[in-house]
């Protein structure tokens, strides 16, 4: 029989009202800046741009620009790697209505940002006049639905790092095709060495192999998305690696560039590594590796391309930026001007340069670490001309990779990679539909 006091009533009313208001509020990321008018260029006043990236020492690169452009100053903030929390930071900043002007967004994550309207369409700011400065494959990866959503910053053409001494010791030739690679692998096992490692939870390597074989998992068509993940090309690659793992020809216990892998490599237990160009800097962390490694082109499949790519970032302009035009100009400079590229290589250790004609002064010379081999001009530069040009990323790339990785992990308990790929395709279709997007399977 307790009567409610006026104050309590007021309290509940306010709470209820606030709650109703907030609960009805829009889910973050549902309005697009690209439907708003274009932001005019800054009229001569000093502009400070913020840039979030996980590249090392990027501020030193920005300072080269800052010295020459007193009216547009760039301030870099380091954030954790995209999938280690960096993208979460960006999404939550965007959801809170803020965020930096520029951010490091990997190529494969651009569609995900587009799904939450997180990026500015640079086409509206005239970026196409710079299109021919960039590598064609990379440019097509940032172009969607008639717009351009990021400035390519680096990429990772794939090659094979190998130990000539171990190959000699075992007495086999360096393989040029994947079939040969599988043939010579058992010889290494007899010597207690693994020819390579296969990461079960990092599916970007497998994706690169499928891409190299000619597969295109998702593409955009007029009527929506078309998926072809479990097509014959990809399943062949999955079967190949299923066999290789079953025959214990590769190790699944030490993912490349993890402490366990470094230790194994230092103990001469890893004979080669099919990986991207940015692995060269990481390889130098192997204790005592100087002069022991060289670089060769990646093994090929029977059909498909000579090389592939793993990783690759862009400088993207985020939706809440107040100076998108100035941000774009800085990004174009940094990623095409020789000064910018050299600075990025020197200070930040970026992957392969995105500029069509310039790979960076430091990369044109022979390398001491790789026993005097000019591996960049010999291996990686040609590799960039042999990549799959049709490959596209999709709005739930990370989620698909996670799903695939979950499936791959079951390999350790009796599953197969083939099953994982088929299941991932089904699940990906489900997730697309849950997000309200249209998708269909390719005819095959």
């Amino acid at each position: 029989m307790r009567q409610v006091t006026r104050r309590e009533l007021l309290g509940w009313g306010l709470t209820g009202g606030a709650a109703a208001l907030l609960a009805g509020c829009a889910t973050p990321g549902t309005t697009s800046v690209n439907t708003q008018p274009v932001v005019p260029a800054a009229a001569g006043e000093k502009v400070t741009l913020t840039y979030w990236a996980w590249l090392k020492d990027l501020q030193k690169v920005a300072d080269v620009w800052n010295a020459k452009n007193p009216n547009v100053q760039v301030q870099v903030s380091w954030i954790p790697g995209g999938n280690d929390g960096g993208y979460q930071k960006m999404y939550s900043a965007l959801a809170a209505g803020g965020g930096p002007d520029l951010a490091q967004v990997e190529m494969r994550t651009i569609p995900e940002f587009m799904l939450v309207n997180g990026l500015v369409d640079l086409e509206r700011y005239g970026v196409s006049e710079h299109a021919d400065k960039f590598d064609q494959t990379l440019w097509s990866q940032v172009s969607f639905a008639g717009g351009v959503y990021g400035i390519p910053q680096d990429s990772g053409p794939v090659g094979m790092y190998y130990r000539p001494d171990l190959y000699e010791q075992v007495g086999v030739e360096v393989p040029t095709t994947w079939a040969q690679w599988a043939e010579v692998a058992p010889a290494f096992r007899e010597a207690g060495v693994y020819i390579d490692s296969f990461p079960l939870d990092d599916t970007s390597a497998f994706t690169a192999h499928a891409m190299q074989a000619g597969a295109v998992w998702l593409r955009s068509a007029e009527d929506g998305w078309v998926i072809d993940m479990a097509g014959e090309t990809t399943l062949e690659v999955a079967r190949f690696f299923d066999q290789v793992i079953d025959d214990d020809l590769v190790t699944t216990a030490a993912n490349p560039y993890t402490p366990g892998w470094y230790a194994a490599a230092a103990h001469d237990q890893i004979a080669s590594l099919v990986s991207a160009s940015w692995g060269d800097a990481l390889l130098q962390s192997v204790s005592g590796a100087e002069g022991k490694w060289k670089v060769a082109p990646a093994p090929r499949w029977e059909h498909g391309y000579g090389s592939s790519f793993i990783g690759g970032s862009t400088s993207a302009v985020l939706a809440n930026s107040k100076h998108p035009r100035e941000a774009m100009e800085f990004a174009v400079w940094m990623n095409t001007d020789p000064e910018g590229i050299d600075a990025m290589i020197e200070h930040s250790g970026i992957g392969w340069s995105p500029a069509r004609d310039y790979i960076g002064a430091a990369r044109e010379k022979p390398s001491e670490f790789f026993s005097g081999q000019s591996y960049n001009t010999e291996v990686f530069q040609p590799a960039t001309q042999q990549q799959n040009p049709d490959w596209q990323w999709w709005p739930i790339t990370q989620q698909t990779f996670n799903i695939l990785g979950d499936g791959f992990r079951r390999k350790a308990t009796g599953g197969t990679l083939v099953d994982a790929v088929v299941a991932a395709e089904e699940r990906t279709i489900e997730v697309f539909r849950q997000k309200g997007l249209t998708i269909r399977k390719a005819e095959r």
Partner: protein
């Protein structure tokens, strides 16, 4: 709550360690002593191993870290170099992170204790409408994991423009349902209604009574709540992770995680991470060792009445 208690007088806050007061005083056989002490030593080693390891690891260079045995020192003694690097990297950002943690924990803990004390005292010493409702509500709050509220709280704060500010971490830290619960129980047990009444008759206002009498009598419980809240805020990871994107605002937990996440890309961060961990563990360990005596007092009463 069950009342199965042996309620000794609440004044028992500092019982001496002398074993003669309990157990079988005459039966202290040397065999049992060795056995018991042996077990305790083994357990102590278990607790100390990681701390010992980080001391050793922080004194090594990255090469040595991978190359030499983890339990003994490396070939070069790089402890001071590593520590200097930790303190100066990024313009002294480590110190900033540490200061942020102190701010969040110190200010948050202090205010949270005060608010919990006020609330607990009010519930214990006054009969008013809604008293049980409030208690039930707050008790429910104890049972709900903080991680379930962090995400929606983030969305709320974003709308209010508070996300990614000091307030976004401070405001949630000011609420300690457990502290409230503890203070209510303690106030119930120790603050005598007759003293309060006497003070009223003397003409003291209610708030005055609370501040001068109530707080003083409740001090042991307040210390417990304060310490509990400080440790809770200091160790909190999920809340700042969700709320903060600006590195300058990070507490030490987020900051060190930042560095740790760079290690696979940039192996020199192994040194920074181990050095940073050492620098943060040592003061915390010392603080815990010094403060552990205070946990006895208030918690006895709280646990006893639970």
């Amino acid at each position: 709550m069950t009342a199965a208690t042996v309620s000794s007088a609440p004044q028992r806050t500092d019982v001496p360690d002398a074993p003669a007061t309990r157990g079988s005083g005459a039966g202290r056989r040397p065999g049992t002593t060795i056995l018991v002490t042996g077990i305790l030593v083994v357990v102590a080693i278990y607790f100390l191993v990681p701390v010992y390891w980080v001391v050793v690891a922080a004194s090594k260079t990255t090469d040595d870290l991978f190359g030499t045995n983890g339990f003994w020192f490396g070939n070069t003694f790089a402890l001071f170099d590593n520590l200097a690097a930790v303190l100066t990297y990024g313009g002294g950002v480590f110190i900033r992170w540490f200061a942020n943690s102190v701010l969040y924990a110190g200010v948050g803990g202090l205010l949270a204790t005060y608010l919990a004390a006020a609330g607990g005292y009010a519930l214990a010493k006054y009969q008013f409408r809604g008293r049980n409702l409030v208690f039930g509500l707050v008790l429910g709050g104890v049972l709900v994991p903080g991680t379930a509220t962090a995400l929606p709280l983030f969305l709320l704060f974003s709308q209010l423009g508070l996300a990614n500010t000091y307030w976004s971490v401070l405001i949630p830290s000011l609420v300690s349902p457990f502290g409230f619960f503890l203070c209510r129980i303690y106030a119930d047990a120790t603050v005598d209604s007759s003293i309060v009444e006497a003070a009223r008759i003397d003409g003291a206002g209610e708030l005055r009574i609370f501040h001068t009498l109530g707080l003083r009598i409740m001090t042991p419980a307040l210390v417990t709540v304060f310490l509990f809240q400080i440790v809770g805020i200091w160790n909190n990871y999920f809340l700042p992770l969700v709320m903060l994107s600006d590195q300058e605002l990070y507490p030490i937990t987020l900051g060190l995680n930042n560095w740790n996440s760079q290690t696979d890309r940039l192996p020199e961060f192994y040194e920074l991470t181990t050095g940073g961990v050492l620098l943060s563990v040592i003061p915390l360990a010392v603080a815990m060792i010094v403060l552990q005596r205070f946990w006895r007092g208030g918690l006895t009463e709280g646990a006893v009445k639970a």
